[in-house]
Each structure stands twice: as C-alpha cells, then as structure tokens.
Symmetry: D3
Subunit: 244 residues, 6 copies
C-alpha cells in the first residue's frame, strides 16, 4: 500500500484544528476543554493543600495525573473501568506519562507543600487522546497556578518551560504529523513525542506496529514532531493570553 494522500486531506505536516476552552467547568482551579479535530478531552487541575507521604516535610510540592475515557467516547462502547474494578494497563501507562510530562514543565520545589491533581477525561476520541491530554493539561495547570498567584499564595507561576505533545507516525509508508483515528488504526508506526517550547525532548515513545523502521524515518518523524510542538505551544500561550 503506497501513500496517496491522508484520509483527512491534510498535508503530511499539518495539525488538526486545535481549540482550547478555558474555565470549561466551574469548580476546578483550572479547567480546559481541548479539541484536536474530533478528539475532545476535559482537563482539570485541582489543588490539594498537602503532599503524598514520601514528600512530607520536604517543603516541596507534587503533581500527579489520572486519565479516563467515557465508555462511549469511542466507536464502540468500552467497559467502564470503575465497574470492572480496575484500570487497564493502557490507562495506567497513559496517566503515568501525563504525570511525568507535566512534572517536567513546572518547578515543584517552588510550589510549597501542595499537590496538583490533573484529571484528563476523554469525552470523544478520534486518535491522539494522550497527547491532547498533555497539551490541554499544560494550560489547566497554568491556570491553577495562576489562581494561587492571584490569591497571593505564590509569588509567580513556577514555570520551567511550556510543554506540549503530539503524535507522529508512518501511514502507508509516509511519515505524517498528528494521526487521527483512521490513520492510527492503519499505521505501521506510532510515536508520541513530548517536548519543551525550546524543542528539547521530555519523552519519546515510539512503537513499530507493522514493519520496523530505519534511522532515516526516525529522523523525519522527529522533525515533524518538532514543528508540531512549536505550533501547539503558540496556541497554548495564545489561549492563556501570554506573549509568545
């Protein structure tokens, strides 16, 4: 099967339309709906005035993440994890990834003995839910820290650098950016990349589901991701009303 065009008609290096809606729900300190094409994830950031046991008394904060999908966010209904009584391996893998990525974005030593809980809940899935979660959670977390600054509890948002995430992959032999569900289901290679605003790597997770891929393809995938991430960071900053 050789490449003719992407099912969506997008250029190989084009992101889907991204929309970030802040203050999407009213109780959370940060609450963002991120839409990447038809993928929609509610990302909330909640502040708790204590840290887990292993950090008590160390004067620093913590950040942790959980991820879930509504049962009918997907093409066919999935079992509800709460009803099954356990989170799948996939769910745990994703929420560990979100947590690690966002801990890299902030300086938790400057956060005080608090925990930031990020909850990423997919209400509609069309590929790329984990990367959308990270990109959206970045904004929700920033907003939650902003609340603490506004209330005087923190002097400044303890930002190290903006972080965003995107998928790249090999679809019908062609490296492409930001796979949607149709591409994802049929692709040979799927790679999720999390980078800082300055183009440094935080996480790289690639899997050849079909044919193994060579170094040249690897290089092309890293290039595509680099471009996508830079665009996403711009959108995050616009949404937050920050200068780029």
């Amino acid at each position: 099967m050789s490449f003719e065009s992407r099912p969506s008609g997008r250029a190989v290096d084009a992101l889907r339309a991204v929309r970030l809606t802040r203050n999407y729900t009213k109780h959370a300190e940060g609450s963002v709906l991120i839409e990447c094409g038809d993928t929609k994830v509610i990302c909330t950031a909640s502040i708790e005035e204590k840290v887990p046991g292993f950090l008590k008394g160390k004067g620093q904060g913590w950040l942790t993440a959980e991820y879930g999908m509504l049962p009918r966010s997907t093409h066919s209904r999935m079992d509800r994890e709460a009803a099954k009584g356990k989170q799948s391996g996939r769910t745990q893998e994703i929420q560990r990834l979100i947590g690690r990525s966002l801990r890299a974005a902030f300086d938790l030593e400057a956060f005080g003995e608090r925990t930031l809980h990020l909850d990423c809940d997919v209400i509609q899935a069309d590929g790329g839910t984990r990367t959308a979660s990270i990109t959206g959670a970045m904004v929700a977390a920033y907003d939650a820290f902003g609340k603490l600054v506004a209330s005087g509890a923190l002097a400044a948002v303890p930002l190290r650098h903006f972080v965003a995430a995107i998928s790249v992959g090999v679809y019908q032999g062609m490296p492409v950016l930001d796979l949607d569900y149709v591409e994802d289901s049929g692709c040979d290679t799927d790679m999720n990349i999390i980078m800082t605003e300055s183009g440094h790597f935080i996480e790289v997770q690639g899997t050849a589901e079909g044919a193994a891929f060579d170094r040249a393809v690897m290089n092309r995938l890293l290039d595509l991701a680099d471009g996508g991430i830079r665009d996403l960071v711009k959108l995050q900053k616009q949404a937050l009303g920050l200068a780029e």
Copy 2:
C-alpha cells in the same frame, strides 16, 4: 431556621433552567448533554446486538445503566472510582435507579435481542445529578431507538410512556422543587421522584436527613414533583421535536 427565600431566588415550585443538547458526542447512537442550572450530565445510549445471559433466547431486549462523576465535577475533588478499584455504594444505588426507571419507559419485549447501555457521566455537579441523568437518558434512549427505526431494524420506538425525574425537599421548613447544591446540603428531607408523563409513579425515594416529616408534608412534596415532572416531559418532547 425558618424559611425566607430560596438561595437562588426561585419560587418554591420553580425548576432551574433546563437545556437538552442532542447529538452531543458523535459515536453514540444517542448522546445528550442535559443542563439543569449548573448541573451538567452527558447521557449516551449505546446499542449492543446481544442480551445478558439470563435473557438469551427469550426474544426480548434489555436496558441497563451506569453512572459516574468526573473527579472534579464537584466542589472538592473526589477520588476516581476506577483508580480506587470500586464503585461506591452511592454510585451503584444511582445506576440501579436509572436502569429501573428507564426500563419502565420502554417495552423491551419489542426491542429484539439487544441491549441498550445508558451511560450518565456528570461533568459538573450542582445538586440533582441522578434526576438529571434520568431525564436526559430518556432523550438519549429515544434517539438510539430512533436510529434503529431509521435503519429499518425496528418498526417503531418501543415507547410505553415518557419518564422524567425531579427532586423535592424540605428546605428551612418549606417544601421546594428541584434542589440545587446549596439547598441540598442544608435540607431536612430530600426526595427523588420518577414519574410517567401521565403522572403515575415509577419510583419514590425519600429520606429525612434531619427531622422526620409528616403526612401533610409528604402530600405537598408529591404535588410539587407532579408539576415539575409535567414540565420536564414537555421539554423532552420539544427537544425531540415531538408533539406534546
């Protein structure tokens, strides 16, 4: 504490503003966002082409419901049930109630050997999430049956009667309709009532959390619910474009 007025300023027999958005997400056969004031619940209806074991070969269908709250749908963050590995007693009680109420709305013998799964997920909670779930799931279920009619799989929506649900309670000594979170937290009695469009009872679940209440109060609460349910059924039919 004697009654002066409701915190929201509503009349004692006034519902909160209700909004029903159909086709809220794209994969489910029925998908409704119901908003009752600040309470927001996504209700999806999914059709599965088989029945549970106890109904196999009987030629009839089944309907079942699950309920969940996003961790930060509430004032302070709740633990995620999937992460804790079990659904609380409250969650199970609510999803059993939703299932019983909606099974009363449809003639499952005319449904064929299929199961309708209703998922009610609260994205923002401000009191009355279980009654909003039932009222919204009624519309989502109707839409899902409508898809089967449209595809020729069913001759007609197997409707017995429309069903809606509302809470009533005693707030500062005064019976009131449709409690929001502030009223719910401070009320003496909380009752959830599920009725058909013709004013017959399907479920009555009342609890005196403070003082036990007498028969006169009981009668007044039933009257209030009767009025509220009639309004809700009108709104359901309007949303579906049906004649009242």
Copy 3:
C-alpha cells in the same frame, strides 16, 4: 389478574407473625433474632470505643450497619459475597438504608466518641428482609445502649424515637401490607417505609416493577404502612419490657 385473596390468607392489612428474641447470641452487646413469618434475621449491635476519622475529636458518636444473607437463606443458593470478593449493589443499598434509618432513631451526640455497629444477617429469607433487619436492629441497638447505661457509661439510652420498617405493595391490583416472598415475586409495586413511633416518615422507597401507580394507590399504601408500623413499635416495646 385480579385480586381474590392473598396466598397466605392474611387480610390486606395484616402483618405476619412477629417474634423478637433478645440475647440470641452471647457475645454482642445487643443480639436479637427477629422472625417475621418465615423470614429470620440475626441482628447484633456491637459497641466500639472509637469513631471513624471524619468524626474524631467532635465529641459525638456514630452508628453504622452491615447486611448479609447466608448463601442458602434463599430458595436457591446464592454465591457467598465474601468468596466473590464484593458486596452486590443490592447489599450495599440495604445496609446504607439500615444505617440511615437507625441513625434517625438515636441522638448520636449523646453517645460519646463511640461507634455502634449493627450487623443484620439473614438466616432464612421469605420476603421483607430489609424491613425486618431495621425493626430488629432497633431492639438490638436499644439493648446495647442499655448495657452502657447499666455500666454507668451513659446516663440514659440516647433515644429520639422508636423506628420500625415495613413493606407495602400492590399485589394483583390490591394494595397490601407486609409482602411475603410469593407476593413480592409477583407484585407490581414494592415499597419499603420506615417511620417513627409517632407516624413520621424517615424513609420511603417505592418502585413500580410492573405498572406505574397513581396517587390514590400511593395514599392507600401510606395508610397501610402507618398501621403496620404502629403495631411493630408496640411489639418492640413489649420485647424490651417498656411501657407503650
């Protein structure tokens, strides 16, 4: 199907024979075997000298309940919940109901920092196990408080009012009191009502399993329950040797 007579031959407003045996087992502070016809439940009340975390240091007590059925208390053997590793939704719903009902009977602020554990274990089931549990647990709890009074730990039993519970329902179109298993299996409506000795409502939980029922039937069911509860409270007081 129109009503001719109850399978048991009882009048529509007649309770089954009730027997309350105090001190049924020897270790518990309160231990009652309640028999309502062929339904038999062991209700024990155990005093623990501490309260759950959320009440620590508040100077008041707590009361909680658990419910279980022996696997062969029923017509065909049920799976043992301890072996399955979880309590069913029905079990949790019932034990939450028992707890709420009995917390309404006593003034827990006058109990000190103690917890009263009620255990209701069905050894033979013939309908109405949850209402028998509540009626029997009332007596077991009273006995346990009595032990604390006898030992000087409390000045008086912190009674607010006696509480009892009974089922009512619509059997073959006819409202009846205190359904046994045969009636319960075939009835259209099943309602459990918990009231105080003065006829005020604590809980009302009614479900139309067949046809929805109208307000006139509702009123008749509430009347029947009122009569049944008054009789049960008399029997509770007799068993405890108290003046009516």
Copy 4:
C-alpha cells in the same frame, strides 16, 4: 504453669455437650444447627445439578465447602469478609479442610453430575468451629443425599463412611479433648483430627503454638481424638435415626 483442672471442670477426655438440630432452615436440602457447648454453626447442604468445568462429562459428582463467621459471633467484632472484599487465609484454609474431609465421606462417583455445596456459618464461636462444622456438615450432607434418594434420583446415599472431627490439645501441660475458647487461647498445642467411624485418619493438623511436643504426647493426643470421634459418630447416627 502446671495443670490443675480444666476451666470448664470437664474431664480431660470429655466432649462438650453436643446438639444436632436437623431441618434448621427451610430452603436447603440439608440444614443442621450443630451446638458444641457454646459454639453454634449452621451447616447447610445445597444440591446443584451441574459440576465444575474440570469434571464435565465425567459422569461423577463434586462436593465443595465454604465457611464464614458472622461478624459478632466472636468476643470482639471481626470485620465482615464480604465488606473487606476477601476471605482471610484462615477462612480459606478451613473451608478447604471441610471440603476435603467431606469428600472422603462419600463416593462422589455414585452421585451423578451434581455438586453438593456445604455452607458452614458460625453464629456463635467458643472454640472448635472448624471441627463442629465438619461434624455438622456430615449430617447436613447425609440429609441432602437422602432427599435425592426419596425423590428417586439416587438409589442410595453414596456413603463411604461417617466422618467426624474434633480438636485435642495440650493445656497447661496436659493433653485434653475438645478445647473451648478459654483453653484454646492458652494452649501450647492445638490439633484438629478428622477420622472415619472405624478410627482411620482422614486429616491430622497439629500445631505447637508454644513448646514443641514429643512423641509420647502425640500418641496421647491421637488416643483422645479416637475416643471423641467415636462418640461424635454415635451422635450423628442418632440424630439421623440410623442404627449405630
């Protein structure tokens, strides 16, 4: 601590009073209340018309046992295993022992493709609950097989031999028969012995909780058990109306 007399005043080789009440509850095919002094266990035998997967199509039957204690059957309240979500190691050990012991009593090849479920539920504990369970379950199982004979489903009770169980132990240096709770708590050695009516061993489970014991003590314990078991089998046969 040297031996003066048993706390109960019993002779070293004396059983506690044993009472076997058949047909204790009404639904089970066999239902026996066994009382050994203050230890009381409800033993029910339930027939299921199928076998576990590993025996399907082999033309033979199966027998299995479960054991539980009501939370307040003991001096201080134990947590309910169903609520904790798992059976303790002790519970599993006991129910495996009961199952093995009773499988030795019957010829399951002559039982047809059926399963006999034994449920032993302790309603009051005063030492020796596992041995009382086995001795009582023997009678309940016999009754259940008797029902199948009466209905013509079996030609005869598939009995290999009667089986009973008793504890022996070393209390204050003295070997004694049938330990009650006070002796059990303070003993050095506790041994449970299950034997056939002809004095052959089915199970021996002894533990030196204090000092290890020598061969002479072992021999004395086996002698005591032998006498106790012979008495118990007589009582089982009397209860069943069988010739000794």
Copy 5:
C-alpha cells in the same frame, strides 16, 4: 496396586539429594537456594527495622513468610497470582505454615523491634516445595540474624532450635519418605511434618487423599519423618559451618 519400588529407585527412607547454596542473590540479608532433587526454591530473609502495628512498643520482634511459584516452575504453566489479583488458598496456607514453623525456631523477644521477612519462591517444582521452603528458609534466616550479630546489632543469633521439614506419604500402600512429584500425584496419603533438631513436633499436617489410614501407618510415617528431619538438620548445620 501394590508396592514394588519407588519410581526414583530410592529406598523408602531415603531423602533426595539436598543442596543448600548460601548467598545466592546479593541484596538480601540471607539468601539460600535449596535444591531437593529437582525441586528448587530461592529463600531470602530480609530485615526491616520495624514491627507490625499489633507489636509496636512491646520491645519484641516478628517473623513472617510469603511463598510463590514462578508460573512455569510446574509441569504445565500456572496463572501468575499477581496477574489474577489474588493468592490462592493453597498459597496462603503454605505461607502461613512457613511463618509458624520459623517463628518456632527463633526467640523473637530477643530480636528487638524488627521484622524478618522470609520469601520462598519456587523456580522449579518437583514435589515437596513447602517443606523445602521451610528447610531452606531456616538457613536464610540464620544468615540474616548472623548479619545483625556481625554488625553488633544483636549479641547472638536468637536461636531456640533448628527446624526442618519433610514430607512422608503412603505410595502404593507403602509408607515412604520425601515424595517427589510422581509419587505425590499418585499417593494415598501425604503428610508434611516439621520438627525441631531434637525430634519434637512443631507441625503435623496429614491428608488421606485416597484411603483413610490406620494408626499403625501413622506411627510408621512419624518414624520416617523423624529420621529425615535429623538428616536435614545435619545438612543445615554443615551449610552454615556449625558443629553438629
């Protein structure tokens, strides 16, 4: 089936070849590979500087054991208990046995407020894994205590007596010592015996899986075990470089 010879050709009172390798892995305070014929178990002893809640502040120590089998330690692959989410009844029974047996070997009052964790993991199974675990864990525990003596934390290994374990059984009608898998699968009776170096009993656990056995066989089995245990204790002491 009458006895001709053992499948392995061993004499009825002969142990399999036993090999004890100390310091088998590098992190544990005591680490022993025990091989009894083809049965191989890694026994590690880990010291933790605290005791379980029920012993806090009592100035004494605790010892506990866990047991596991690698999924393919057996002839056909077993499910992994960690993946199934629970330990089988058999596993719990064995680890409780190992713990009791080893607690009898040491004087835990002289251990300080520490816990010794014994982990017995079967890497290859050919019968007798629980007795090999006990015999090997004795040596691992001794080594761990030795580390504390070497570091000055204890004055001496708090030894009460050496403890070893062996199985005996009736194979084709003949009492034999130390059953391997082939014998174990086909035997009538299987008994595990744990004794001290001076021939006193700590545990006796015998089960007649086929025919019940009489007192004469019991006596022969106890004799065989006595001889086997004495040999095993010699091997333990040799491995530790101690005088017999």
Copy 6:
C-alpha cells in the same frame, strides 16, 4: 556535575558482561537465565495449544508476556504484587512492552492456533531488567519454537528477525550505553531501545528525568543503542548455536 568516568569503569559504549544459560529450568519449552552484570532474569517460554478469544478460528497464533520481580531481587524489599492483589503500573507497562517487542520478532500467522507465554522473572536486579527480559525472552522463545519444529508440529521457527533491547542514557552529562543501577538512579535521561538484528527500530521509550535533552544527544543515544543491539544479537545467536 560533570562526567569523569562511569562508576563501573566501563567505556561509555561498553555493555556489561552478558551470559545466556539455556534450559535453566526443566519444565518450560524454553527456559533461559540471562545475566547482564548483576541483573539476573529467568525467561521461560510456554506453549499453550489455544489462542485468546479474539483470535479463535483465525488460524494464527499469539504471543504474550508477563513480568515480575522477586520481592528481594531489589536493594530493599518490595511488596509482593500477588499479596497486594495487583500489579503496579510499572509492571504492566513493562510486560506490555515485552509482549509487543517479541510479537515483532516472529511471524505469528505461521504459528498455528497456539499461544506462546513468556514469563520474565527478575531474581536479582541491578538496572536494565526490562531490556534484559526482552533479550533473554528472544532466546527462550526461539527454543520453544524449536521444540515444535523438532516434534514436527512446525516446519520451521517462524522467525522474522532477531530482536534485542538495551538501555542508553545521559549520566553526568555524558551519553552512555547499558546503565547499571547506580547510573540509572542518578541519570538525567533513560531510554530503552528495542531493535531488530538489521538495526531497525521496534520500540523507543525515552524519558528525561532531569533536564530535557536536545536533538544532538538524541542522535548520540541512538548511535550507542545501535552498537549495543548488534552485540547482543551476536550473543543470542551464539547461545543458540546459530551462524551469525
């Protein structure tokens, strides 16, 4: 902290000593002990003559993997996952990785309706247990397929290409190959790479635990991994007696 030398004295591109012992245990169709320095993992491959439900009747095979660590394989004792009742997120992530990597090595369509179960159990951990598991499991799987070839069940080992895995990372600012525990604990970036014998990528999983890293470092890490993998594949083939 700037780089001076590796704690082990190894060159930056040097593997630890690798030893592959085939037929390490006797029951499994493939059984390999892999030692990479002080990291030791038992890898077994078990053949089951059926496939999971989702593959039934499709004429192809399946391969799945599980991973575990003995509680004291690590510096301080970890809780046993079987006792805790669940596998950690880390464990699940690793076993999913092993499964994906090995499914890429073989042509499962040519395997028939069989499942190959790989079990990787760490008996001593010193960094790199997941990559050692993959490298060792490759050999165990090859051996298991070899058994089927020897028995005539398969015509040839359904090999697509050899697969091996290695870690690379940034230690004190310096990219290095094959991190041991000391390096792993202190490193900024840890990346696990799985490649085929021809240098194509199957998986890349990199995490910046400290500073994010740039593209130049990424390139150097990929180069180091490429060299390490080529060496490991040579060792796998030598162990199997295959021509390189």
